[in-house]
């Protein structure tokens, strides 16, 4: 396995509009079963990448923001692929482990469904299959042959579209003998599905070990921060702060 890569992502939330294009692209690429109404009601909807919306603004006594001084803040949240992932050491069967490319990997056929990993994940990005995923038979036709369907009892999560990374490595490094870089990832449609779809270029993916990659450069932006950094999980997903010129007056 090529170990010279360290895959990571930068999420510039000042660009994010909350449009949900990434969410749907992920559902399509990764064979995530349709979240039916009942799954929303039972809080078991699966979204490997989700858009969280927070209300922000002046608050009154209940802690509820008041109209009209109210703002909505959007943030895409996906598996943070932590270097010190709290989900990894608690798995009794090593179904989730850290590979040498910075990915937090889930091996479905090892998973026995203890859900310890989901319990330990502070980002709420791991999803347990409480049911076998169901599609009407005709919709099987659009399922991605590169991605396993997860059965009942299995934990699943964002993989950074590892199937695309592997294809890219195989074609560019294995077959062509070239070095994989941003341009080649883009040209082959091998960026993660969410990154490809994003209309505002909020999501930037690439090799953190490559000093020339966009993700390396952007991760040094003065606005950078990591989610729940104080927990020491050391994520490979770096966020860039939202910019709000009015913020100082109303923080």
């Amino acid at each position: 396995m090529a170990s010279h890569h360290k895959w990571g992502m930068v999420v510039d939330i000042d660009r994010c509009t909350g449009c949900q294009a990434c969410v749907m692209a992920c559902q399509a690429e990764n064979n995530i079963a349709v979240n039916e109404e009942v799954h929303f009601l039972s809080r078991r909807a699966h979204q490997w990448i989700r858009i969280d919306r927070y209300w922000d603004g002046d608050t009154k006594e209940k802690g509820v923001v008041t109209w009209p001084d109210v703002k909505a803040r959007f943030i895409p949240v996906l598996c943070q692929h932590c270097e010190n992932a709290p989900c990894e050491p608690v798995c009794p069967v090593y179904a989730t482990y850290h590979n040498n490319q910075g990915l937090n990997v889930q091996v479905y056929n090892r998973c026995i469904g203890t859900r310890y990993c989901a319990n330990n994940c502070p980002y709420q990005v791991r999803f347990f299959n409480f049911r076998d995923p169901l599609w009407p038979k005709s919709l099987w036709n659009h399922l991605n042959p590169d991605v396993t369907i997860r059965s009942r009892g299995i934990m699943e999560k964002c993989t950074f579209c590892i199937q695309r990374i592997r294809r890219a490595e195989r074609v560019v490094e294995g077959q062509r003998g070239e070095q994989l870089d941003d341009a080649k990832l883009k040209a082959g449609n091998w960026m993660p599905a969410c990154v490809n779809a994003c209309p505002t270029d909020t999501l930037i993916f690439g090799d953190l070990n490559d000093p020339n990659s966009q993700v390396s450069r952007k991760s040094q932006d003065p606005r950078h921060y990591k989610l729940l950094e104080e927990l020491g999980t050391d994520p490979n997903v770096v966020y860039l702060k939202k910019v709000d010129p009015q913020h100082a007056q109303h923080a």
Binding site: D14, V23, A25, W55, D201
Partner: protein, 758 residues
């Protein structure tokens, strides 16, 4: 062990490959086959990518589709296509589900039960086409045929127009999302038939009124592409977005400043901003002179101090409405040509919508941004008239006439394609109009909809990814673009659809009206090729080749043709403000008055739009970005108002409109909803549109009193007042967010960290 011939060949094939592979494959290949690798790597097979275009809901997007073993697997944006530049919306993604929809109509069907009973028998295409031909030739007067379509563009529009003309029938296009009022204002102020493009990418200051351009207005993916750069593009400072809208739309949510305003008063605010620019000498002197005719007092009545009290703009962060107006005027003018005023959506959807939008678009002239980089860039017309064909949507005022004609027996044959008038025109009771024994309804549909349910004959149409077509985006990138749609897969063997174009061509031949182009072709693909020859003859743009076959192949590979050297016309003379002032009038908001009445702000759903995506499960399951509600209709009610009315989230309320009709939906507590208004998304309330849409939510269009914009006759969907009464029951709302509302904590603990330094 019994080894079949097939197994033997497989084993033999494997061993041969293995033997060869030992010699030529690099070591890495073998490492990748290791069982320690996760299984995603184990797929064999070759994928092909085909470029196409589709209008999945709002505006055309150039797409590339991944096809494996004859099945479409994934939609991606076409990086070459100039409008969406590689990105794509969830509406395009869901084209896969239209293709493989479990409710797809497999074969032509004839009604056997009572109309609307849902009883059908499958028939052959020969039977179906003979029936259609007999009906087309059987009407006593050709004017008794009405063809209802979506607002088609490009080659299909050219064909449909030609067919209707040659046959002698009527045609009407249905698209409630179309910006009829904005299009008319653009025609009158900019002298253009196509909408201009707002160069948000290079702009420094964007002031939008009602146009939810990041979600559903205009060309959202193109604008979003520009918006990303506008915010954090390299080598530029961060742009400022101010959004004026009674409703807290997605664009309002992303604005640096949201300015809530009294519905229908957007034009007055625009003139007030213009007043400040003129009276304080902020705008371009030449433009000010031209627009005022030297009379600097033309907008005196719109001085902020005089009219701010009418606008109902609240104190925002302690800033008074007068200060707010002045600040906007200063900011807009200080960025000069790199500032943009956009108007549309709810600002145009009032009885005085034309006045509102004319006043808004005039601001661009005042600050000198028309035709400038970072401003409003005019789009050139389509490169050829065939590709430029456009079925202009019929206005609601005209639909009322058409509906009466049908109900009165003046129409005997209705052909419906790409539209669902029974759902969209529910307030007109279109279903009631076609429910006559002497009206024969033919529906072209891929998946059942409310109109096909009422049809006599259903002709299964090819899905977008199985069909040919072309499109010229209404909001182009500032130069000429033609998107080419090609079939990326064949229909599944169990389906037997036919393209709408192919049916029209066959009918034209059988009716003896196929004597000239485009009707003299056998297939729609031939029509498209013929139109492509016109492009080839131009010998310019992104595809050029002396050989047509080579030109055609390149056109398909690239997903279209564009010419970055083509440009729109020079900007016309600035409008006179006195003319716009003369048009000023109040919005007439009709509906019940008194207690518990609210202004109703209907809005297009981000994924279902006006309802055309409701049968696709991915689009149903897309949470609304702000409320996170999916699969149903909700009523956005201000949190404080809801507390006053003692309405909890999930309480059902009855919403009664001016026509006496009502619907029931659940309340969502919304901290950013104005206190005297409710907002309800369009898109739901289908009765017979397949398993994912039928019987779900409510159709807000049904209760509108159908007020129309005075000058254009377009639906004034913002000019409605409704009565809200609790229905006395409660149910959980299907939504993605947690049960406890999510609020930002202190800066230290915040998930979304905010800075004020761009």
């Amino acid at each position: 062990m019994k080894v079949s011939r097939r197994d033997f060949l497989k084993l033999a094939g494997l061993s041969t490959v293995g033997a060869v592979a030992c010699n030529i494959f690099p070591d890495r290949e073998f490492q990748e086959q290791s069982p320690l690798r996760i299984p995603e790597d184990m797929v064999t097979g070759v994928d092909n990518w085909y470029a196409t275009t589709a209008r999945g809901g709002i505006e055309t997007e150039g797409l590339v589709i991944r096809v494996m073993e004859g099945r479409a697997k994934k939609v991606e944006g076409n990086p070459l296509f100039p409008t969406n530049q590689g990105a794509h919306s969830m509406r395009s993604e869901a084209l896969l589900q239209e293709l493989y929809h479990p409710d797809r109509i497999p074969s032509p069907m004839r009604r056997v039960g009572a109309r609307g009973s849902g009883q059908w028998e499958p028939i052959t295409w020969d039977d179906a086409l003979n029936t259609l031909r007999d009906r087309l030739s059987g009407v006593s007067n050709r004017n008794q045929m009405l063809m209802v379509t979506n607002s088609m563009r490009g080659s299909m529009a050219n064909l449909a127009q030609s067919f209707a003309q040659a046959y002698g029938g009527r045609s009407a296009a249905l698209d409630l999302m179309h910006e009829t009022v904005a299009a008319q204002v653009v025609r009158d102020l900019f002298g253009q038939d196509r909408m201009p493009v707002f160069d948000i990418r290079n702009s420094e200051y964007v002031l939008s009124f009602g146009a939810d351009f990041l979600a559903t207005w205009g060309s959202p993916i193109q604008f979003s592409k520009g918006y990303g750069h506008f915010r954090q593009g390299e080598g530029r400072s961060r742009g400022t977005l101010v959004h004026v809208d009674p409703r807290f739309s997605l664009t309002a949510a992303n604005a640096d400043q949201w300015v809530p305003i009294r519905p229908g008063h957007e034009g007055r605010l625009a003139l007030s901003i213009a007043h400040v620019i003129i009276s304080e000498g902020l705008g371009s002197a030449a433009a000010v002179n031209a627009m005022t005719g030297g009379n600097r007092n033309v907008l005196e009545a719109y001085a902020p101090e005089r009219i701010s009290h009418e606008l109902n703009i609240p104190l925002i962060h302690g800033k008074s409405p007068v200060d707010m107006i002045k600040e906007i005027a200063h900011d807009l003018a200080s960025h000069g040509p790199r500032s943009i005023a956009i108007g549309g959506g709810s600002a145009g959807a009032h009885t005085n919508g034309y006045f509102n939008l004319a006043a808004i678009y005039a601001l661009n002239f005042l600050v000198g941004s028309v035709g400038q980089q970072g401003g409003v860039i005019l789009n050139p017309p389509a490169p050829t008239p065939e590709f430029g064909a456009f079925l202009n949507p019929t206005t609601v005022r005209d639909w009322q006439g058409i509906r009466n004609d049908i109900a009165g027996g003046a129409v005997r044959l209705v052909m419906v394609r790409g539209a669902d008038p029974v759902h969209s025109l529910a307030a007109l009771d279109f279903a009631g109009a076609i429910n006559r024994d002497d009206v024969f309804v033919v529906s072209f549909a891929t998946v059942p909809n409310d109109t096909s349910h009422m049809a006599d004959l259903i002709l299964p149409e090819r899905a977008a990814l199985e069909d040919w077509g072309s499109d010229v985006p209404n909001i182009g990138p500032g130069f000429q673009v033609v998107g080419i749609q090609q079939p990326v897969v064949n229909p599944l063997p169990e389906y037997d659809p036919m393209g709408f174009g192919d049916v029209l061509l066959r009918m034209a031949a059988e009716l003896g009206i196929a004597n000239k182009a485009p009707l003299n072709h056998v297939t729609f693909a031939d029509v498209l090729k013929d139109h492509a020859r016109g492009l080839q003859a131009l010998n310019r743009g992104s595809v050029r080749n002396a050989s047509f076959d080579a030109f055609w192949n390149r056109l398909l590979q690239q997903g279209g043709w564009w010419d970055e050297g083509s440009r729109g016309a020079a900007p016309p003379a600035a409008p006179r403000l006195a003319d716009i002032v003369a048009m000023a009038r109040d919005a007439v908001i009709s509906g019940p008055t008194g207690g518990n009445t609210f202004n109703l702000l209907a809005f297009p759903h981000i994924s279902l739009t006006d309802g055309r995506g409701a049968n696709l499960p991915w689009l149903q399951s897309t949470p609304d970005p702000i409320t996170s509600v999916a699969w149903t209709t909700w009523v956005e009610l201000n949190t404080d108002t809801a507390d006053l009315l003692d309405l909890k989230e999930g309480d059902y309320v009855n919403i009664e409109g001016p026509n006496g009709r009502s619907f029931t939906a659940r309340v969502y507590h919304h901290p950013a909803a104005p206190k005297d208004m409710i907002s309800v998304p369009m898109g739901q309330g289908h009765r017979n549109a397949g398993q994912y849409a039928a019987g779900r939510g409510a159709n807000v269009l049904e209760i509108l009193g159908l007020p129309v914009e005075e000058r254009t006759g377009a639906l004034a969907w913002s000019s409605t007042r409704v009565r809200l009464t609790p229905a006395g029951r409660n149910d959980s709302i299907p939504k993605f967010e947690g049960i406890v509302p999510a609020f930002q904590l202190s800066e230290h603990e915040a998930i979304v960290k905010v800075t004020n330094e761009g």
